[in-house]
Each structure stands twice: as structure tokens, then as C-alpha cells.
Symmetry: C2
Subunit: 233 residues, 2 copies
DNA sequence: TCAGCCTAGGTGAGTGCTTACTCACCCGAT
DNA sequence: ATCGGGTGAGTAAGCACTCACCTAGGCTGA
């Protein structure tokens, strides 16, 4: 094994990256420290110089994975409105639908960790749900209120935040079905799965068809998105 | 280890039951043949007299788990209608919501197997999805058509079957969040989570609020269900 | 009737292999 | 010369799986 010398911090990051890939693909029990060391192109001994145990390595990955997406922050800044609500759902759908065919599989790993947490004690999932709720929940609820006030949506008879979670649930499983090499569901070979999901979710949330059509019809390109944002202000 | 003598078939079933519990709770890699033997109150050697390998035991559980629910068959017999559609969704929601606090945890095990399959090669999930589609899909699509014809639902702009899967996705994750000992989401401490889910899903499918209110408002007891069925005929 | 044995349910004590983890040691740069 | 990055060769425990053996009972045949 001939590997270059490097700083401790960089090595740590390389190990974490390799371990993340391994744990996400094979789960905690299905991953061996030997395979992680091989993926990081180092010896097993060096791995244990950086992390005291396999469990500690796993725990560090989980806590690191809790950090928020920077691109999400953009949505937070937006004025609450029907357009923001639609954009929020569309962004969520897009994110989850594209998880499977992401190039680096990083988002797929996050999904795998999230799901395995549900099968375990659920602690990681609770942490992540809480973070998402703090980040997106408020924008969602405020935007829904505005949409109701503007006559774009029916007043919700449910806890508004739950509507967000229901939508989240839908796209999470949709992404899950596309995780294996051969997808679990074909969705009628739909090429516009994204649009179908958006319509379903927005209807479920309570938006009327006119609002959905007007806000969802356009804005498929970033430029168009900007236009929609400008119009909504 | 003092265990009674018994027939080979009965012993097989006891082992399968114990193994199902183990695999569902800890996954394939997390389950040891020793723990399965202990759960079945027999020696490990006897286990291997009945099943040639751990993998074969797991495979048999998966194929056995593919069998359909008998109670589902009732819904198949019903005349397609808006009421049937609502009942279908309500039944599905009820089934998934009650998974977590089922007494024997048998349904929770099925959910766990289903989800772990998605993280693996997805083969078991594909089988089960295909079976569900054959059983419920036709009734769902036919009922949705009737609902549209009756003016209860907007004509779907999506593949109708996908609407069913979207609804299925939602409740699947909802059940998943309630699988750990402490639920991953509180849903605003909702006691009427079932109703909120039904409304969200039926709206998403395209039913108008009047139809939802009239079909969902009543029929919370079996007797009322019968009434609704009779009225829908 | 009953010794004798034969079979099928059942097990304790392993087998070889893999796992997480350790330790004595190496080497290049300061 | 020393110190931190790096390793080969372990170790003890745990894994899936096996084998020689045990024992209760049913069925012979004399």
C-alpha cells in the first residue's frame, strides 16, 4: 500500500467520505471497517488512528449529515406567497426525483441513512425532521396562509404543517422506489413524473386548479423561475 | 435446552415465525442464526436441519410474505364508485396508520421487509408492488373513472394509476415515521391523523371538497360503512 | 410379548473464516 | 533525534455452518 503523506484533517475527511458511501450503500452492519479502509485507500490501522471505533465513525457521519443544504437557504429568503409555495413543492419534488440519478450519489446516501434510521431507533430521522421543519416549515405555513388569503387555496381543515409532511412523505417514497438499479415502480414510464407529483401534492395541500395551472404551467427554467418570483412580489 | 418433540412441519413454521421477527427488526445482516435459533427455542444445529442456509431462510420468508391479505379481497368485490374510492383510500390509510401499534407487529415486519428491500436490490418490493397493483389498481382506476363521470372528481391529467401510488407512498412513509419506539414526527399531536391523511390524499387524487365531505364525513363505524355502501349502489 | 433396531427429532461441541480492533515498527521531514 | 503519518501482522470474539452423537418411539420378527 503506497499512499502519499498528508495532513490529519484531510485524511479524516477522506475517510469520512469513503465511510459515508459504504454505510449508505450497505447499512451499518453490512459495512466492514476493512471495506471502509479499502475505499479510503489506507490501512485499517490508520482508520483506527483517526476514529476510536466503527460506531464513533458512524455517529460522526450522522451528525455531519445533519447540516443543511446551502441551496435551500435561497427559498427561505423569499416572500411568502402562492408562488413561493408552488416553488417550494416543485423544488422538493425535483430534489427527490433527481436523487437516484445524481452523479455522486451523495443525496442517495442521505436518503439511505434517513430510511435506515427509521428502521433503527429513529433518532437521526427525528433530528433531520426537526431541522427541516425549522428551515422550511415556517415558510410553508406562511405561504399557505397567503395563498388562502389570496383565494388560491382552500382554508386547511388540517394542521397546516402536516400538509407539508404529507407531501414530503410522498416524494420520499417516490425517491425510494427509484433507488435500486432497476426501479421498483415504472410510473407508466412517465417522463413527466415531476409534474404529476407536483399536481398531486398541490391539490392535496388545497390549492385550486386555477392557481396550480397558473403557477405550475410556466417556470421550468431558472429564468422563468425568476420571472415567477418577480410577478409574485 | 429441553424442547418437546414435534412434527417437522410445525417446527418449520415456528422457525419461520421467529426468523420473521428477527429479520424484520434487525435486517438481514443484523440478524444472526444463533439469535433466530434462540427465538425459536431450539439449537442452531436444528435450524440448519430445516433450512440449508441463512439466505434460504430469508428467501422463504420473503416469498411467504408476498401472499395477499384476505381482508383486502372484500374491497375487490365492490362496485366501482366514488364511495368505493373513498373507502379504498380510507382503508389504506387506516391500515398504515395502525401498523405501528398492531399487537403482533406482523404488519410492521412486512413494512420493514418492504423498506429494506428498497435499500437492497428492490426485488421483493417490485414483487409486492406488482401484486398490489393487480389487486387494487384496477378497482382504483375504475372507481376514479366513475367518480369523474359522476362529477365527484376532476378528470386526472396524470396517469390515474400513479395517483394511487402517490397516495400509497404518503401513507407508507407516515407509517415509517411511527415505527420507532418514539415516533419521528408528532404531527401536531393529531388525534385525527387518519382524517387529515384521507383528506390530503383524496384532494390530491382530484376529488372535490363536496364529494370528500359527503363520503368521508360519515362511515366511521362498520355499520355506517355498510350504509354508505348501500347508498352508493 | 418383547428384545432389537431403525428412524427422525434434537443437540453440544466444534470448524474455518471474518470481524473490530491493537501493537510493534517503519520512514521522511523538521 | 524526534515526531507524526502510515503499515503488516497479528488477536480475541463472533459468524455461518457441520458432525458425531443422543434419545424416544414405532415397527419388525421370532
Amino acid at each position: 500500500m503506497t499512499s502519499l503523506r498528508m495532513t490529519s484533517d484531510l485524511r479524516r475527511q477522506l475517510i469520512l467520505g469513503a465511510a459515508k458511501r459504504c454505510f449508505a450503500r450497505h447499512g451499518y452492519n453490512g459495512t466492514t471497517t476493512k471495506s471502509v479502509a479499502a475505499a479510503a485507500a489506507i490501512s485499517e490501522a490508520l482508520l483506527f488512528k483517526h476514529f476510536p471505533s466503527k460506531a464513533a465513525l458512524y455517529a460522526e457521519i450522522l451528525s455531519e449529515e445533519c447540516e443543511a443544504d446551502p441551496e435551500l437557504a435561497v427559498l427561505l429568503e423569499r416572500e411568502p406567497s402562492t408562488a413561493t409555495l408552488v416553488e417550494l413543492i416543485r423544488g422538493m419534488v425535483q430534489y427527490f426525483v433527481e436523487i437516484a440519478d445524481g452523479p455522486d450519489q451523495e443525496e442517495a446516501q442521505r436518503l439511505r441513512l434517513m430510511v435506515t434510521s427509521h428502521l433503527d431507533d429513529g433518532e437521526f430521522a427525528r433530528l433531520l425532521y426537526a431541522k427541516v421543519e425549522k428551515l422550511i416549515g415556517t415558510v410553508f405555513v406562511a405561504s399557505l396562509e397567503r395563498a388562502v388569503a389570496a383565494g388560491d387555496a382552500a382554508p386547511p381543515r388540517s394542521e397546516p404543517l402536516n400538509l407539508f409532511w404529507f407531501a414530503h412523505h410522498t416524494v420520499l417514497t417516490a425517491a425510494l422506489t427509484r433507488l435500486p438499479a432497476t426501479p421498483c415502480l415504472a410510473y407508466g414510464k412517465a417522463d413527466d413524473l415531476e409534474r404529476q407529483l407536483c399536481e398531486f401534492l398541490l391539490r392535496g395541500i388545497g390549492l385550486n386548479d386555477a392557481a396550480i395551472a397558473s403557477h405550475l404551467g410556466r417556470a421550468s427554467t431558472p429564468e422563468a423561475k425568476e420571472t415567477a418570483i418577480a410577478e409574485s412580489a
